[in-house]
Amino acid sequence: MPVASLLEWIESTDLSTAIREGALLYPIIGGFHLLGIALFGGMLLVTDLRLLGWAMQRRPVADLVEQSRPWKQLGFVVVVVSGLLLAWAEPQKLYRSPSFWVKMALFALVGVHALVFRAGVYRDPAKLDGATTSEARLAAILSLLLWAGLIVSGRLIAFDA
């Protein structure tokens, strides 16, 4: 099976072995993954809570969305790069883990979320000031749920046999 041999090849690379068997590399990359989640999550929370009208109501939506964007992007890059490295270390285990596939499905939905709501919510946040729309609220709730779901499914990977 080509997938099986691909996974085997990944695990036989020096990088994979180094992350998997080094005493420090795996937890350090895992630590970066968590810090990226916190940075991304904090920025996401500020935006979403503002869209829901639960926090920072006196600040313009556009201010928060625009200012948090570069940090959100940085957090995203840190999460994805560290995540790829962690996956590179043990692809065979992940391939068999149901939680991993749930996580990947949710991750794909993050992309769908961005595509669906970009036009109505995130591209021109200034128009949401004064009157936040139900579309913006929906976008905020879904993004919080996706983020929570990614954390739970990610954590469950360690508990799959």
Binding site: Y26, P27, A38, G42, W71, I151, R155
Partner: protein, 152 residues
């Protein structure tokens, strides 16, 4: 230590050691708690450092985000001890756990004293930068120490 041994036999420890889903669920809530608190603290820190969120003052951000930071602390400080009680004897001997607790106590103390003062209007720029940088460093150490627990 008798106290830690007693902890591992407590009803909540039994819950944590009982159903298979208990530990991962509590651990996930722990992750959300620290993302909530450290994420919102990081926003204030980036402002203190002068590198992010500059359309607001640090004082405004700190006031706006305070209750979310506290909510994160609450979630973190409920779920953390729950996980600890599940295997208290081993955790308290774990060097990474001890490192994490030292950093956590320092970070919390710092957060509610010097860091809080640094967010006030009129703080000299250098003091604000130092407070922001130190805060990021301390919380990073807490997360890193926590991640290491499972590997020591």
């Amino acid at each position: 230590m008798p106290f830690f041994e007693w902890l591992t036999t407590s009803p909540w420890a039994n819950l944590m050691n009982g159903p298979e889903w208990a530990f991962p669920v509590v651990e996930s809530l722990h992750f959300m708690g620290f993302a909530l608190s450290i994420g919102t603290i990081a926003i204030v820190d980036l402002r203190l450092l002068g590198i992010g969120m500059r359309r607001q003052t640090a004082a405004e951000l700190a006031t706006d985000l305070q209750r979310w930071t506290l909510a994160g602390f609450a979630l973190m400080l409920i779920t953390g001890p729950l996980m600890f009680s599940a295997d208290a004897v081993r955790y308290h001997e774990n060097p990474s756990f001890q490192f994490k607790m030292t950093c956590l106590m320092t970070a919390l103390l710092f957060h509610f004293t010097l860091h809080r003062r640094a967010t006030r209007a009129g703080t000299p720029a250098l003091a604000a930068r130092l407070a922001g940088g130190l805060s990021l460093l301390l919380w990073t150490a807490v997360v890193a120490g926590g991640r290491m627990i499972a590997f020591v």
